[in-house]
Symmetry: C2
Subunit: 493 residues, 2 copies
């Protein structure tokens, strides 16, 4: 009976009021005033244990506060991002820009007096956008109109003369199949399924539309299409075409694939209604080149007690070429480095080795992730936790956790510590593709979750530039992850 | 014993898992599988009541989903904001621009087939910025330098010849007093206490620094200062000077008051360290004119059951003149109107009268708020709830509630309904100055809480422009308030 009452009391107080630990003790004290003697006696027995937990949590609160203050007062990550975005810029793997980024990040890490900084070699695909990517409508009824377009990553070019053909609008692969070869052969297929504006999580809207970009060319080629033009998979209405990787199948002829802005997709659709026989001309001189050497960039602070056990965190260094790779994902890289910087600035020594990785080639074939996972396997490294930041540098909401129920509950138990910093979302969910392979060794994976509303305004477009990143929001993300690293280092996962 | 178990079960399930109502029922069903007979019997007795509550909540979920979909699919508020910001622009009360805004909002409301649209007359102060606001440093050691400055609202001008004098840097009124008349007379006082970057809630950082702006001139004049120059009260490092109202005291001589950007405040402070005898020249031709007539703009849908009981919501139509008043607070106005639009679009008929108010003159003397409160008193109108949106159009976090414990608990009980929309903060707290007077009649007040990280990048500066407002974030705010209005209309407060 007593334990029921006690348990009720605990639950009621903690969950209804979402109290911090110290508030909790105070409220607890108030509520016990009304208790009867045997209940109080049992409480006295259990209180020392509780107080010990509380002292630890108070110390954790102090550490987190210091980390946040350091991050907000010294936005070094934001300054590093400035260089990466405005001095180097877009850096798709295999290019000179990507190599400049590797050298820059190595230099930044080497300047931080870390215990180890090294490059992890790998090979990447090398796709070149070229200098031409245009599309124009020709309609006897409506006139002519240039569209806002860009090549999709890994697309072949159109050849110098370009392609000019009638257009078939479809919204999914089933529709494509229903129309069949007779309606598609010799034409350009226009994939125009819109991302759903009404979804609150824009990543879901993107996820439900992006198959057209990834597989559109492959699917349309099966029916004899000459090329595809794909509506940007974003719940945004503007003139930016959004690029991204697309895949060819070995068994199907490769055909050119381009992206069109959502506004121009609406326009094209509207013109097609008025004039189904209009023609679209498109020209691109993008091409695939031989694979090129590249690197992950790695820096770490060695653990004082368990140097052989690693907490890894990172983002990807490559970015699409038409923007500056600010939100996707320069921010994740500089945030990861900032975690190490915060540890150094606060003169904190982790018990386990903490490691920042700037992964190469997330955008095309995830070779950086594969090289990292291979090295982990070869060296038989033990990772006790892995965190990825690759959802943009908007204000952090919390963490999504991919691990055992015990790991998830453990991270959730830290939620009160993050309440002063407005983190509220601690849910089971995916982490990120660059650390995903570590799941095989049972490492709990975590993704930094940031507010998704603006992300697809920028994603894979010329609009993903440094000025779109807010220094406070960026640094809050770095501090949130630094806090999580500290808690994993202290309590394990 | 049973009820303890039952209560524990309820609490554990709802609060640990933060379940939606339907999820809750499912989980509840699972957990009851393990129960013994007497417990199950008691459950069967209580279940019909619970199911009824659940049906209502499911219907509420459907309504909220429709409201959010309507808002996100049809960002009409965002289009209205475009006109208000880019066609009209900054609109401090008493000016032609403010009157244009009144007429525009009236026209928008009149086009919505509301039951009532009217103007509520009032008188406002009329301050004119003029055409000149400059400041320049002169140092024998360092050279000369123009600063990014602007006049503070209600400041007098400097006269045609301007003011040129030595500068005394202080950080608070105690320091001013300690220096005293001998050190201050005939000089310009430079208030340079910085807003605290490390505070997570930027409104707190602002709140702790803004006394320098509001009372700096009044306090410095007591010691014979010629003028004041005040560091912008924002936790941001850039070149925008931020204006805002300042107050003179009848008993003290009025002296000119200007704002300087945070970057230039740092520069001025640094130059002063090197050359304490440098001089600052400043010139402004701002002036106070006779009071002018103006209006609140009001539109409403009459209640079908209790037309005499009102739920009011609004933002303020006036804005500072140097920006476009986008975040502060054009967004609040168009969101309030959008609540009515959502009701009309969904053909929903509220039981109580729902009323949008575009308040005039929040920025200088809150005459709109006073006129509204007076009218409420005269007409003996009963307000059952009031909501204000005046914290910028960033992504909504939740509601701050100023009312009885019962009202606060009632709004908190709706938190699960807002979980799908990422609202998480339902706390006791202030609402806004435009509805504050309604507290006297016991009306529960609510403020829409939005993410505060970027707000002071814009606040009262030339940077508060339409392009800084994201349509999704703006519309999510409108939908959140529409949902709250619906729940207040359905269940009272």
């Amino acid at each position: 009976m007593f334990f029921n009452v006690f348990y009720c009391l605990l639950l009621r107080m903690r969950f209804r009021k979402s109290l911090s630990c110290s508030d909790f003790i105070n409220t607890f004290a108030e509520e016990t005033n009304t208790m009867r003697k045997p209940e109080l006696f049992a409480l006295i027995l259990i209180l020392p244990v509780f107080m010990q937990v509380s002292r630890a949590q108070n110390q954790d609160s102090v550490v987190l506060r210091k980390m946040y203050t350091e991050a907000l007062n010294n936005p070094v990550g934001w300054k590093n991002l400035d260089y990466l975005c405005t001095k180097i810029g877009g850096r798709i793997c295999g290019t000179v820009k990507a190599e400049e980024a590797v050298q820059y990040i190595r230099k930044v890490m080497e300047g931080m007096k870390l215990d180890t900084v090294y490059l992890q070699p790998l090979f990447v695909k090398h796709w070149e956008r070229g200098t031409v990517e245009t599309a124009k409508l020709f309609s006897a009824k409506k006139g002519s109109k240039d569209l806002h377009v860009c090549a999709l990553g890994t697309s072949i070019g159109t050849g110098d003369t370009g392609i000019k053909a009638k257009v078939v609008e479809v919204h999914n692969f089933a529709e494509l199949k229903a129309i069949g070869r007779s309606g598609i052969e010799g034409k350009i297929v226009f994939f125009n399924r819109a991302a759903d504006d009404s979804r609150i999580n824009t990543f879901e809207a993107y996820g439900k539309a992006v198959d057209q970009r990834a597989q559109g060319a492959m699917q349309a080629a099966r029916f004899g299409a000459l090329a595809v033009i794909v509506r940007s998979a974003v719940p945004v209405h503007d003139n930016f075409p959004h690029t991204g990787v697309q895949h060819y199948a070995d068994s199907v002829k490769a055909i050119p694939a381009m992206s069109v802005s959502t506004n121009d997709a609406d326009l094209l659709s509207s013109w097609l209604k008025d004039d189904p026989s209009l023609k679209l001309s498109m020209k691109m001189n993008c091409r695939n080149l031989p694979e090129a050497p590249s690197f992950n960039v790695i820096g770490e602070i060695r653990g004082s007690e368990h140097p052989e056990e690693i907490i890894v965190f990172g983002g990807h260094l490559d970015s699409w070429d038409i923007g500056q790779g600010a939100h996707d994902d320069g921010s994740g890289v500089v945030q990861a480095i900032d975690i190490l910087r915060i540890y150094k600035a606060l003169q904190m020594k982790p018990k386990h080795t903490i490691r920042a990785v700037a992964f190469m080639d997330e955008e095309i074939a995830q070779r950086g992730a594969a090289a990292y996972a291979d090295a982990v396997k070869k060296k038989a490294e033990k990772h006790i936790g892995a965190i990825e930041a690759d959802r943009g540098a908007a204000v952090p909401q919390g963490f999504s956790i991919d691990g055992s129920d015990a790991s998830i509950e453990k991270i959730k138990s830290w939620k009160p510590l993050f309440k002063p910093y407005s983190l509220w979302s601690f849910e089971k969910g995916g982490s990120g593709v660059d650390i995903h392979d570590l799941k095989k060794q049972g490492t709990p994976l975590v993704g930094l979750v940031t507010d998704p509303q603006r992300y697809f305004d920028y994603h894979h477009s010329a609009n993903d530039t440094y000025d779109k990143v807010n220094p406070r929001e960026l640094e809050l993300g770095a501090a949130a992850m630094a806090g999580l690293v500290y808690l994993i280092d202290t309590y394990g996962l």
